[in-house]
Assembly symmetry: D2
């Protein structure tokens, strides 16, 4: 048994020092430290392929650059449609704003402001979104799969700090099974409703993620929240070979039985996770945990 050495905060302490020293502590500080150390281990071994799944409103909260940096070590990226839409919104020059969770929602509505807890966004962002899709429809409508569509969007984004642009530039497969459920989906619907054509297959992308998962022997999964991104990656593992490493940051709880809160070791029963794998389940808001894990890995 290792002694728990109480941490001492020093003047000018670096995040990397703090997060690494947390690995020796109990409770969620311990889990955060372990997650940071495991992430370093994962990215050091170039044979390990990382599957990154991102749910939650990460971009609105200010996590765009964090995810942008995580992509440097990502082989497969699965996201909710919302995060990709908000990335596109920022890439088109629109902003998110620090608001107040106790604001009057009807007052906000009258001012044209959408609220996500304490983050505000102007409803007029949809104008630029619509222009982007309408200007680029010819090119976009050539896509046959969701991944192709997302890469095409990325290729048309000028802002190099965009997540979608980076996925395109670095040829990182980006999957989003529920893209219909997002602002980007709404733009597709809007153009289709005006009689424009596009044919995107709902299942075609499954092939690529499962094939990739079959070929790779050393795989790691990294989940921010649960939802479709986690589930889509987990089933790729189930129908190929299990992941050896796993980090999950979630505030959902396992006792309510949903897949979002399930601990990673549950995946061993399904064959999604390797019986001798290394897994860390961290219960913390990802907006706090992600920057610290990334800081631990920057050196």
């Amino acid at each position: 048994m290792e002694e728990i050495v109480p941490i001492k905060i020093t003047k000018d302490m670096k995040v990397k020092e703090l997060v690494e020293s947390m690995a020796g502590l109990g409770f969620q500080a311990g889990k955060l430290g372990e997650a940071a150390c495991l992430f370093q281990e994962i990215i050091k071994d170039k044979e390990i392929k990382l599957f990154l799944g991102i749910a939650g409103a990460m971009i609105p909260a200010g996590m765009k650059n964090i995810i942008f940096d995580l992509l440097d070590n990502t082989s497969i990226f699965v996201s909710t449609g919302a995060n990709l839409t908000h990335d596109l919104i920022e890439a088109l020059g629109e902003k998110h704003y620090k608001g107040n969770e106790n604001a009057n929602d009807w007052e906000l509505n009258k001012k044209g402001i959408d609220r996500m807890y304490d983050v505000f966004m102007k409803q007029e962002v949809y104008v630029k979104l619509e222009k982007f899709f309408s200007d680029n429809w010819e090119e976009l409508s050539k896509a046959k799969t969701i991944k192709e569509l997302l890469w095409k969007i990325g290729s048309l984004i000028e802002n190099k700090e965009s997540i979608l642009r980076k996925c395109y530039d670095k040829k990182i497969p980006v999957f989003c099974p529920a893209l219909a459920d997002s602002g980007i989906g709404l733009m597709i619907w809007g153009n289709k409703a005006r009689g424009k054509k596009i044919e995107i297959d709902a299942f075609e992308d499954m092939n690529e993620i499962i094939d990739f998962s079959w070929k790779e022997k050393k795989k790691a999964v990294f989940y921010v929240g649960g939802g479709v991104p986690k589930n889509f990656i987990q089933q790729a593992m189930q129908f190929s070979t299990p992941a050896l490493y796993g980090i999950q940051i979630s505030t959902d709880k396992e006792e309510y039985g949903g897949r979002s809160g399930a601990k990673l070791n549950e995946g061993i029963s399904w064959g999604k996770m390797h019986k001798q794998g290394k897994f860390v389940n961290l219960s913390c808001d990802a907006t706090i945990a992600l920057p610290m894990i990334l800081a631990g890995a920057k050196a």
Copy 2:
């Protein structure tokens, strides 16, 4: 201000009595009672169209009949792929089992058992699933949208207690934007991988839900968990007219900023919820709350 009258439990008390008396209490008992009363109000008014969104592993936990009964009052049904897959699994004669959340996952794996918290399922269920899809491929492959596919599956299920069968029988539109992320999705992938053809459009269903939402003036939403089902319905409201009534059962928390935990009133800012609507946000495991709400409505 109404006095809180402490509830008194009587011998042979009915669920309907209990849940209605809870409406006068504080904390989550109060919310549960209010949700039950609001649900009764919603189903009594035949002009109100109910949009039901179901996430979480409801079928494995034993909620199939509850959702089956809720469909009697449902105009639009949106589900995760998992719940539909587990409904199909039960319809094909397979079972879920009461397990133990502390079971050894590697031992379970060796026995061919998949774990969902304290619910177990045999991995061999996939054999029947595969046979179903292979036997019925010709018919299934005619579907062009996810809704059509799900209705076709429903039409081919013999068991009349199936949710999918009921959606088909009663012509309840059933949407599942992320169907790729589920056992049914895997069956589609498997057949495609063996060279069979099917072309399902990823965005086509959006039209129907948004059109329906446009036409209806009195709308209610009922969310079990969050995820894609909630979001898909919410955006249909945003791009048509806001919902007047809303019930949400979720254990997610608003302060982490994800859409699953967002309180319904947040939707007023987006134009998804009506500024004078009646909304109840209930924080409770749905496996407890749903049966009580339904019992309150049976009379």
Copy 3:
């Protein structure tokens, strides 16, 4: 492995039927059903002595009668000071009110209303509290331990539906180590500050609970929330013999490491819980779960 049989809600279903059928389900419905069945088992065996610990603002929310009825099967009762204070407030004829969790707290303050989430209470309740303590000081000040003080308060309450009165009437030992931290504590402080005398020993009650725990061989614990009530009972077990049965209703989570969220089996390592004991940890608002468990036991 037992099959999970999906529950079917019937017209006029009784709470007892519902909660017992939940025992065969998964997730927290399963836990609630198991808790209800275990509670029935506990109260049927007259050799089992039940230690009941109550935290959380149960009385304000409308749970007074529930706890009142639970005392019929309780050998040792440990409570927060707040629940006992609110019981006294109701016994003196004051009320709690159904309020609104989004009320403006400064407006409430100006109206003399104290808020507990969505429960309101008039600040003027303190007038009656003060009168009670001042009228009865001579008798109350004879108490030498917290238990004696609480029994004396009970003996002076005329309302027979009071929890404190029932503890006195039925000679149920009632402990409250942190009584200083409550309205009753404030009344003691107020009288002391005006020069009146009372000498209550802070540790004397420990003897009685630990002695009782030593003598009894078949013990059950029932915790609503955590905090001091749970901890005080748990340490009595630790320093005598472990409990054989345990039910815990809590929304705290074990991963944050506090005793309130700790699962009961953790107590096995400490010798607080018996290695072959039967324990149920239920994650649900107690205002929902308690009435259902009690209803299951009424017959």
Copy 4:
């Protein structure tokens, strides 16, 4: 409205930089940053008196030095008995160990190990505790209040890194209304049970905290967890003047109605918090948040 500028993690980033930049973000990262900035504001103004309330198993998890450092800016300290007991245990040379939350509790029991989630402690620590109380009984038994007893314990501790020793050295009033509910309480009970005398008044300390609170005009509260420490401080505010500043780190949720999860603004209705006060409610494991807040203040 302030734009949310996505944070960028740099090599060798300092904790202070990270936590301050978080203040501009959304969700709980924003709250953590705001808490860190508010804490800096509080400690810079020497007229502000800080009331620190600590619940949860902070010492076992490795937070001893963090709390030790927080005491530099603390005027009144209120703790659970457990944290003070574990401080004494460490001061006597015993340790806490990094364990495993999935360990078999019966195996641990046989090895004499107590578990607190993933923190282990040897049961033999009680031997040193007993010796300490027996060796020092004569001096300890002179105490008449809980605060006096805790200061006496502090005065007898040789280890200068102890929290209790520091409270004594710096004459920081340390209150613990529920001390009976802890290892220290058990030591008092054990000596009393062996016929030794000590008379500690259960209510006497209330005078000092309420008097102090009356005299001070600029007050801040800082709560780690809820429970008795928070409540004891809050009622001192209620019966004197409200606090102007407040920071709360808790994973409890307001919707279950307990005081531990109540947001600080609820205290405005009670007159515990000032209507124009500055409050931050942070939902995060304190073992993660506390070191970051402290690091932000070290300069």
